[in-house]
């Protein structure tokens, strides 16, 4: 066991502080110290994307980073994307288009998709498929996930146009 360090993170807009061993993976720090259990562990070898969060503006697999490396970072997880009163457009569209089954990949998938649509608000189907290729889903075969993301993009673009 190594000495614990003082970790400061800004998670979903809130400042959080806690003691953790530097070698702890960010995913466990989020899940076990902060009780943020939306992001999941599907492999802990950076292959499945179930643990995806947004860290300092980038999609990151939080099982691939030590909590020490994340110290001071700003993090968004699925819990920070929307709330029951105001769901994120992606959350609505995943439901609408049956983009999930067991739900285990869903938090990582939606978090990644949200970042993808920020990076590329008008993706083609191929760009969506490539853009989420770091996130594995064992249940849906992706077809409805892709559909959900494309529908969300359309809806977000329509809303933007309407606002102009």
């Amino acid at each position: 066991m190594t000495d614990k360090m003082h970790v400061k993170l800004k998670v979903n807009g809130e400042n959080r502080e806690f003691l953790a061993e530097p070698r702890e993976l960010l995913i466990y720090a989020l899940r076990e110290h902060l009780n943020i259990t939306g992001p999941h562990v599907g492999c802990d070898t950076s292959h499945c994307g179930a643990c995806t969060v947004t860290l300092n503006g980038k999609s990151v697999k939080s099982c691939t980073m030590f909590v020490a490396q994340a110290n001071g970072a700003e993090i968004t997880t699925i819990e920070g994307l929307g709330n029951p009163a105001a769901l994120h457009v992606l959350q609505e569209n995943f439901r609408e288009h049956h983009g999930l089954q067991c739900g285990f990949c869903t938090p990582g998938m939606i978090t990644r998709a949200a970042k993808l649509l920020e990076e590329n608000p008008n993706p083609t189907e191929a760009e969506v498929r490539f853009g989420i290729a770091g996130n594995i889903c064992r249940c849906t075969g992706y077809q409805n996930i892709v559909k959900s993301i494309l529908a969300a993009a359309d809806e977000m673009n329509a809303a933007k146009e309407a606002a102009q």
């Binding site: 992001p39 599907g42 492999c43 029951p84 498929r129 849906t140």
Partner: protein
Amino acid sequence: MNDMTPERDERAANLKGLGCSRKRVEDARFTQGKGNYVDDIKLPGMLHGDFVRSPYAHARVVSVDKEAALALPGVVAVLTAEDLAPLGLHWMPTLAGDKQMVLADGKVLFQGQEVAFVVAEDRYIAADAVELVEVEYEELPVLTDPFEALKSDVVLREDLAGQTEGAHGPRKHHNHIFTWEQGDETGTNQVIDNADVVATESMYYHRTHPCPLETCGAVASMDAVNGKLTIYGTFQAPHAVRTVVSLISGIEEHNIRVVSPDIGGGFGNKVGVYPGYVCSVVASIVTGRPVKWVEDRMENLMSTAFARDYWMTGKISATKEGKITGLHCQVTADHGGFDACADPTKFPAGFMNICTGSYDIPTAYLSVDGVYTNKAPGGVSYRCSFRVTEAVYFIERMIEVLAIEMDMDAADLRRINFIKKEQFPYQSALGWEYDSGDYHRAWDKVMEAVDYKGLRKEQAERVEAFKRGETRTLMGIGLCHFTEIVGAGPVKNCDILGLGMFDSCEIRIHPTGSAIARLGTISQGQGHATTFAQILATEIGLPADSITIEEGDTDTAPYGLGTYGSRSTPVAGAATAMAGRKIRAKAQMIAAYLLEVHDNDVEFDVDRFVVKGAPERFKTMKEIAFASYNQAIPGLEPGLEAVSYYDPPNMTYPFGAYVCVMDIDVDTGVPEVRRFYALDDCGTRINPMIIEGQIHGGLTEALAVALGQEIAYDEQGNVKTGTLMDFFLPTAWEVPNYETDHTVTPSPHHPIGAKGVGESPHVGGVPCFSNAVHDAFRPFGLRQTNMPHDHWRIWQTANRLGLHD
């Protein structure tokens, strides 16, 4: 009076009952990160367990030294077989009538086998302590090939030495488990010996793994004060787990509560009982604190539940015209170190005897030999109903091979041999009674939709262009017509550990006209909370949105055998409908009383009972629900509740017709699925949106298995595919869009005619993808090449056929 009027249509639509694509009620929590999976559970004072595992596939365990581990601050206990032995828990029964070591008892039989269980304050300390446990091994000769194992002097299971009788009859050799025979051997041999045409082929259906995104895990909590044990876990069959835990631990069943919370995919992986579950329970009893165990991905792939691993040899005979006359199938099944297959007791090779497929084959014979090797135990139904995937792969390859032998089109050959609509219920040569089907209609619909003739023409042109050197890609047309057998099953022949495979539903209607229904099954992504409410909505006339479905808590749910083998809709779905009908029967009496007419003078109409011939006089189900709680009705008990335990009279037999069009780059071995057309007939359709989702998912798992996914071992028994780097799970980038279609042939014996669908696409998809690969090379003389057809193997095939010369 029952004509559909717009007003009536609207009332029906409000119920969101059978047949509508109701959005899922589960999604609100899953899309917001509020699911509750096993690893999300945190109990006060909870400890973490982790395994010391064997690096060897076969070795004697000479000693286990726990001193250093126990000295590490934060380590609470280290358990070995010696610690479990006094409790009689160092071995446990398997679902297949064998037994399995919980922790290594003197030797290990596969790489990754559980040797010691470390319990510590957190998961990091536990992992550190695992490294500190010193185990001395003495290596033994390793057997990874079942054919070698049957010849070898090396005894794998010393605990069974001298036992010539196993759970499924005589054992022929010390590494032999059982021989299972079905059908008429002499008759089949005679037919084949005298046939016009015979095709023979051997094929290996490789070992793979269900690999749901969530691994297996449990949290056990023994309350020493009240003597109550609670186990949260990734259980596809929570009630069976409760019974098994009670039987092996001696804790009375009423003192055990098993809870399956949200489950992150199962696909068969979570049917079995694993050493991790048992060790968490023991550790909680020993330490007096809750203990969590969650396996990591590598442990999951190495130790908890492989699928397939069948070596199959077939002979199929036919007349000159192509009418099949006989089928002979011999299987050598590699079961690994323990026989832990999850099959109904009387079926040690599952429903492999559905291997006559969709065809009217008058005579057939099947024999399966189970064999021990130094590989992980398992043998689960990976998105499959008990070896149906193997059976369908076998027959759909044999059909292709026969077509090659006869120089016939494989679609024509299938069509000639389909069981005809008027032959149902159809008695198969290997003992099943197929309930219903219309194979010709399904097949013809698909052939037309894909323009089969046009595809064949294009393919022939491609071959010519290839020969002229104008292209380096070949085109494969994969065909498959499958018949599934699901919904296990009738108690007269289906049980697991003596527990009949019925299922159950209990309904309570609340005074204000909403309801809760509890079932013996458990969803792992299938959306039961959505679909079972739809069945009920139609049966009892209350909106699906007003019905809560609850599963997975053995303290509240009625007993059932769980969810796998596509059994939820055929069995628990039937129980739901039957329980609903009991509610309706009582509601009818209440309505008649309220309307002051005779019971028979009212009839059910969508969401109400109306007086026959006077539809303006009615009582809605909502009114009836309230009345059941506030009126003293002569001869009727208050309240409105019902329970049904449903023992299905037969299995159900969903079927489907699939076509895959694939382009294969001969120089890189890369296959590209250009088109996949899937027609499924699962009988009555409860929720088309969910059915379609199941089909997309099952086809994707089929693509994985056919085109790359495997659990491979080297000669020392090392697992070569222990991480997701080596074990193929397709990403969105590799998966095509699928076209789905359907016909509806209801099951005649199911209360709502539904047959189950979750596994069909996997069962039918694997042979379809594989046949496409084979078909691309058929013009160059390919007959059979084993899966998985990864790029390297496809390249090798092309190379062997001289296509790189």
